[in-house]
């Protein structure tokens, strides 16, 4: 019988949550790497037993862990992330030039077809690649080296490269998103990059429709239709129908268009999910009601999904990498909160149940659909 494996990264360790295809009863293992911040854990699409985890701490910096048995055992691999050449500077909060300094890996994106190839999005924003299972990392320097790089500024959470999308159809096309620089696209496997932010409007920057400087929180695509992209921006939910060449707003009737994650239903490319958050200053759901919003029309028209979610006195946040979908039928949707809950829906969002309630603050959630 098929099953699912939910990989949750938290402020104090990683947890692996497993269930059979009914998604009713769950086994919880962890904490793995107890006490360390686990920004992200993700499995290889080419080999579900191959997992990568980003482990870090304020004391001891970055470690990358790898599992070859689905998370039963782990071993540290390479943790040297050296920027290519002389790193140069970006803008600091006060507008002065600031040297690029590696802080941590926010996101790990395994290759679609090679378990040993994995990409890492890091803070200060840069993109790295390993072709040997994480032992050695080389920067793809022309993203950070884009002519606009010296003008990039960190968002409040640091200048992080948090989203990496690999196009399953167009060979060599990939997308990356950086807070607070914007979205970028490569059509040559990361060798060259250009900003794809036309149509974004950000009132928080001096030129609201500038080429770069936008605080993109998350990008999502459906693998069957990779030319269509969805974006949760600092404010505004956006859509592109041309691989990022231009964007239009699809916030529609959302109670707030501020938020962090966005994801797409596994079988319905126009069904998308967001979690509205009150504002940039109030990182909790409007009215204390935790609501996932679903659009079945690719945006603009949204419905609140509340069954099983707290509808009073709820003031958690859902971070950008903390939502994922499985590919069972019906599609499962999962998200984790800063309050330590991981919620699951086995019916495309119609109803929800917590898998666990009291983990450390959840930083990331990924799901593997197992044969």
């Amino acid at each position: 019988m098929s099953g699912v494996r939910v990989l949750a990264g938290t402020r104090k360790g990683a947890f692996v949550l497993t269930s059979d295809g009914t998604r009713k009863r769950w086994e919880v293992s962890g904490p793995h790497f107890a006490g360390w911040e686990i920004y992200h854990v993700k499995g290889s699409p080419a080999d579900p037993d191959r997992l990568y985890a980003s482990q870090s701490s304020g004391w001891s910096g970055q470690v990358i862990q790898r599992s070859d048995d689905g998370g039963a055992t782990w071993a540290p691999v390479g943790n040297q992330f050296a920027y290519d050449g002389t790193p140069g500077t970006h803008q600091w909060y006060d507008g002065t030039p600031h040297p690029w300094e590696f802080a941590r890996v926010w996101h790990l994106e395994p290759s679609l077809d090679d378990p040993d190839t994995v990409y890492a999005g890091v803070e200060d924003a840069g993109l790295f690649r390993s072709g040997d299972g994480g032992q050695n990392w080389q920067e793809l320097p022309n993203l950070r080296g884009h002519k606009s790089g010296p003008s990039w500024q960190p968002g409040a959470g640091g200048m992080c490269l948090h989203t990496i999308l690999l196009d399953p159809v167009q060979q060599g096309r990939m997308f990356a998103a950086i807070s607070a620089a914007g979205a970028f696209r490569s059509d040559d496997a990361g060798q060259s990059w250009r900003p794809i932010n036309r149509g974004l409007q950000s009132e928080g920057i001096p030129d609201p429709d500038a080429e770069v400087g936008h605080c993109v929180h998350r990008l999502a695509m459906h693998p069957s239709r990779p030319g269509v992209l969805f974006m949760q921006k600092h404010w505004d939910v956006m859509r592109s129908d041309n691989g990022g060449e231009s964007w239009r707003e699809i916030s529609g009737n959302l109670p707030s268009d501020f938020g962090f994650p966005i994801d797409v239903h596994a079988h319905e490319p126009d069904t998308i999910y967001v979690v509205p958050i009150t504002s940039d200053a109030e990182h909790f759901p409007p009215e204390g009601k935790l609501r996932v919003y679903r659009s079945r029309t690719g945006g603009d028209d949204w419905e609140p999904l509340t069954t099983g979610l707290p509808q009073e006195n709820c003031y958690v946040n859902v971070l950008r990498d903390a939502m994922a979908v499985d590919s069972l039928d019906s599609c499962g949707v999962y998200f984790g909160t800063t309050g330590g809950q991981v919620y699951a829906s086995a019916d495309s969002g119609d109803s929800w149940e917590p898998i666990v309630r009291d983990l450390p603050a959840v930083l990331s959630v990924e799901v593997q659909t197992l044969p």
Binding site: A34, G35, G58, W59, S60, G61, Q62, N79, Q80, A82
Partner: protein, 98 residues
Amino acid sequence: MIRVVLPAHLRTLARIDGEVRLDITGPVTQRSVLDALEARCPMLRGTIRGHDGGPRRAFIRFFACEQDLSHDPPDDPLPDAVAAGTEPYLVVGAMAGG
């Protein structure tokens, strides 16, 4: 025989119980001890100091014989008691965080 005591989170990472005991030929300095430690436990590279012998990480401290050696030059000799193995060399996570 040099005795090194690591903080708990690094013992877990390196899968070590108790002290690490290292044989060092030549001068016993902070650099030579850390070089030998990282050779024994490669997963510790980058977690105590920068890669390739780079500077100490900001929230790591080095103590021995009730002295803070964190700001001493890395090639200074360690106290005789450390070199003789009667006192351990302590790698400490600074009091920080929550």
